[in-house]
Symmetry: C2
Subunit: 123 residues, 2 copies
C-alpha cells in the first residue's frame, strides 16, 4: 500500500461502502432518513429473523451511519448523515478527475484538428 | 423484502458498493481514472501477490467499474464511470431526503415560535 493512500479516511470509507453494499441495510438507511425508528419497525418490511436484522444494524452502527439508544425495552435508531457525505465526497472526487481527463482529451483533439485545418490552409 | 425496493438497481448498487469497500480496489479505481493501465502496473504500488490483485480486478469487473482486454500477453484495464454515477445518485437522493426533513423540521419549529410570539402578544 503506498503511503499517500494510508489516510484516516480509508477505514471509514471501507466501513460505509461495506454497510451500503446490502439491500436490507440500504432499506434501513432509507427508512431512517425519514425519521427515527425502533428495531421492530425497521424489521417489519424485511422478511428475516430478528437476529439477522440486529446483525445488519450492528454493521450500520459500526460504519457510523446510524446510532441507537435503548429506553426501557425499546431500542430506537437514528440516521447519522456524515458517513454518507464522506462516501459521496470520494465518488465526486473521482468523477471530477474523470471529467478533467475527458476535458484534457477534448482539448487535445481540438488542438490536433486545428493543426490539421492550418496545414490544409497552407497547402 | 418489500416490492418497491426490488428494482433492477439493487444488485448493481450491491456490487458497486461492495467493490468500493476495499482500499486496494479504490486505489485501482483512482489509478484507472487517470488512464488505462496493465494488470502489472496496477499491481506495482500494492504489496500483494498477483493472484490477489487479479481477484480484486475480478470484483471490480463484476461491478462494471472496469473492463479489461487482453492483447498478446498484456491485459489492459479501463475505467467505466457509469456505476460510480449510480452509487453517487443513490447517496445524493438520500442526502436530498435528509435535507428535506431538516427543512420541514425547521419550518415546524419556526411555526411553533411564531404561534408562541402571537400568544405572548395577546396576553
Amino acid at each position: 500500500m503506498i503511503l499517500s493512500h494510508m489516510t484516516n479516511q480509508q477505514p471509514a470509507l471501507d466501513r460505509v461502502f461495506h454497510a451500503l453494499a446490502d439491500p436490507s441495510r440500504r432499506m434501513m438507511v432509507e427508512r431512517l432518513i425519514a425519521g427515527p425508528a425502533s428495531v421492530t419497525e425497521l424489521a417489519k418490511p424485511l422478511t428475516m429473523a430478528l437476529p439477522t436484522v440486529v446483525q445488519h444494524l450492528k454493521v450500520l452502527e459500526q460504519s457510523g451511519l446510524i446510532r441507537s439508544e435503548k429506553r426501557g425495552r425499546v431500542r430506537t435508531c437514528h440516521i447519522e448523515p456524515a458517513p454518507l457525505s464522506t462516501a459521496e465526497r470520494w465518488i465526486a472526487e473521482q468523477r471530477a478527475l474523470w471529467e478533467g481527463r475527458l476535458d484534457r482529451l477534448g482539448d487535445y483533439l481540438k488542438e490536433l484538428k486545428d493543426k490539421e485545418a492550418k496545414a490544409d490552409g497552407q497547402e
